[in-house]
């Protein structure tokens, strides 16, 4: 269970978020929607430790959590997958998968990369939820959904409690969208992972998430079960 209580964020004199609260049970998916500037990215950044709230609290399983950085948040069990920001196009799939936490082996007194083991682990991790993928390919050659699958699979490798996904689906084809929805549903089902997804794609959010929250001008306008609200109503909440 994740509880967010009265989160407010000011940037100077501008109030980006105003008293936003919600609760999310473990293993549920929350779709966060709103127009540009509604505050959804700000909220996601606060949840990921990228920004500090001006006031308000976050609880995880009843325990108050605080973090100063994304690295802190990761330690507590919150992982984030930004869209394309975090992949290196000119590097191969397995390199991207293990960047920053490379596997090594000793040869004599020296430490070298254990490339075989990294390739093997990457292939295994990707195959767990998604379609098979040649881990030797450069990420820049892959499709949007394949890249997304890599970023998400990498983010959940550390067995996080909560996965935050930001604006991840805007550049996908129709088939790609379907693939991603299936993939994320599978991830959610198999690992009982709580997810918060920010997207402009309302159809996708409706299809994927259990709950929907609509933000407008930094305020919560709607929070409820996905099957209780139609897309037309979501749009009505989004518009001033």
């Amino acid at each position: 269970m994740m509880e967010v209580k009265n989160i407010t964020k000011n940037f100077g004199t501008v109030r980006a978020l105003s008293n936003v609260s919600f609760e999310l049970e473990k293993g549920r998916i929350l779709g966060l929607v709103g127009d540009n500037g509604a505050g959804k990215s700000t909220l996601l950044k606060i949840l990921s430790g990228d920004l500090q709230p001006t006031s308000g609290e976050i609880y995880l399983e009843g325990r108050r959590i605080r973090f100063k950085s994304t690295a802190d948040a990761m330690k507590i069990g919150i992982a984030i997958a930004y869209q394309f920001l975090e992949l290196v196009d000119s590097a191969r799939v397995w390199e991207n998968f293990f960047m920053g936490r490379e596997l090594t082996k000793r040869i004599g007194p020296l430490v070298f990369l254990d490339i075989e083991r990294m390739k093997h682990s990457t292939a295994k991790a990707v195959a767990k939820y998604g379609p098979e993928l040649d881990v030797e390919r450069e990420v820049g050659e892959l499709s949007g959904e394949q890249r997304q699958i890599i970023a998400v699979t990498r983010a959940i490798e550390a067995n996080p409690e909560i996965l935050l996904l930001d604006e991840s689906f805007t550049l996908l084809s129709l088939e790609g969208r379907k693939e991603i929805v299936n993939f994320l549903k599978k991830v959610n089902r198999k690992s009982d992972l709580t997810m918060v997804i920010v997207s402009h794609d309302l159809d996708l959010v409706k299809e994927l998430s259990h709950y929907i929250m609509v933000l407008r001008g930094g305020e919560k306008k709607f929070f409820g079960r996905t099957d209780e609200i139609s897309i037309d109503d979501i749009v009505r909440y989004m518009l001033p």
Binding site: T70, A71, Y82, L85, E86, L87, V88, D89, S90, A91, E95, M99, G100, R101, E102, T104, I107, G108, V111, F112, L113, I115
Partner: protein, 320 residues
């Protein structure tokens, strides 16, 4: 045995990947039609030995290009570091220490460059030009414009000892190349150079210490600059204020011909060797081929330009 195979797997052969070698060998054979003397063993040995300077500078340059930077001070390090090394010998340090000191000075120059570039956010082009200028000036003050001669024999061991017909220098050079390639492809830091060059923000987000990696790349280029200067002085028997400066353009052109990306993230060291020897060949052939006096440099530059165009065409076709 398995580990040896693993490390040497770093130099696996692939025709498309190593096109620079075909370009080099093709041009070598083609020019042989006009200048048959380049097939004689004396010339081959000569090119092989002379090319080590460009190669070492190019390797150093490639390491900074991998992270998307450039190091113009590399040729200043090639003069400054050996001169300081020799001075340390003159004041009483043993030769091995003096050589070691030379290499350390190269790395320290790079460290300082890297510090300025990462912490004060000075563009590498600006920082390394200033460093080049300053170090060149210091060398001029020390040498008063004259070549520093009378180097100790032990210092010149690498350039003067032969194993059979092949100079010791060539074996040493091959060893250095192998170590550089294994470092780049099989170590954590080496691979991270490519990753940081490919997408700095992504690396930061994934916990890679980006600034440290960038500083290391400059330390390596400084080290290779000093090494190139040492090797050149061991071969020539002197150090001068104009040392290695003529090799700055080739040291930039060679990686570019070899397809090393100027924006970072891509670069194959074996190709860089071929690129460096290609530039060396062009410079030599134009001289030996009797291109008269004032035209030499223009023709050299033109040929290098054509080689760069060929590479640009290849990149368009393969998309890398």
């Amino acid at each position: 045995m398995k580990s040896a195979r693993y490390l040497l797997g770093a130099v696996r052969f692939n025709v498309v990947e190593y096109y620079t070698w075909f370009l080099f060998i093709g041009i070598y054979l083609a020019t042989g039609i006009f200048v048959p003397t380049i097939f004689t063993s004396a010339t081959v040995s000569n090119v092989l030995v002379q090319g080590t300077t460009v190669c070492l500078l190019s390797i150093g340059m490639t390491f900074v290009m991998l992270v998307g930077e450039i190091d113009l001070s590399i040729v200043a390090a090639a003069a400054f570091a050996p001169i300081m090394g020799i001075i340390s010998w003159e004041v009483g340090f043993p030769v091995p220490v003096a050589i070691l000191l030379t290499l350390v000075i190269g790395a320290v120059i790079g460290f300082f460059n890297g510090l300025m570039i990462t912490k004060l956010k000075i563009p590498s082009l600006v920082q390394t030009v200033a460093m080049w200028w300053m170090l060149g000036g210091i060398v001029l003050i020390i040498t008063r414009g004259e070549a520093k001669t009378g180097l100790p024999d032990a210092w010149m061991l690498l350039g003067r000892v032969f194993i059979g017909p092949i100079p010791l220098l060539v074996f040493f050079f091959i060893l250095v190349v192998i170590v550089a390639i294994i470092f780049a492809r099989r170590t954590v830091t080496g691979r991270r150079l490519y990753l940081v060059g490919g997408n700095r923000e992504a690396c930061g987000a994934m916990g890679i210490p980006v600034d440290r990696i960038r500083i290391i790349s400059f330390m390596i280029s400084g080290f290779f600059g000093a090494l190139a200067g040492y090797v050149l002085s061991a071969r020539m028997g002197f150090v001068s204020s104009r040392f290695a400066v003529e090799w700055l353009m080739p040291a930039i052109a060679a990686p570019v011909i070899a397809g090393v990306s100027l924006t970072g993230g891509r670069g194959n060291f074996l190709n860089v060797i071929a690129g460096a020897y290609l530039v060396q060949l062009i410079v030599m052939v134009v001289r030996a081929g009797g291109v008269g006096g004032y035209f030499t440099e223009f023709v050299q530059g033109l040929l290098v330009f054509i080689a760069i165009l060929v590479n640009a065409g290849r990149q368009r076709v393969t998309g890398r």
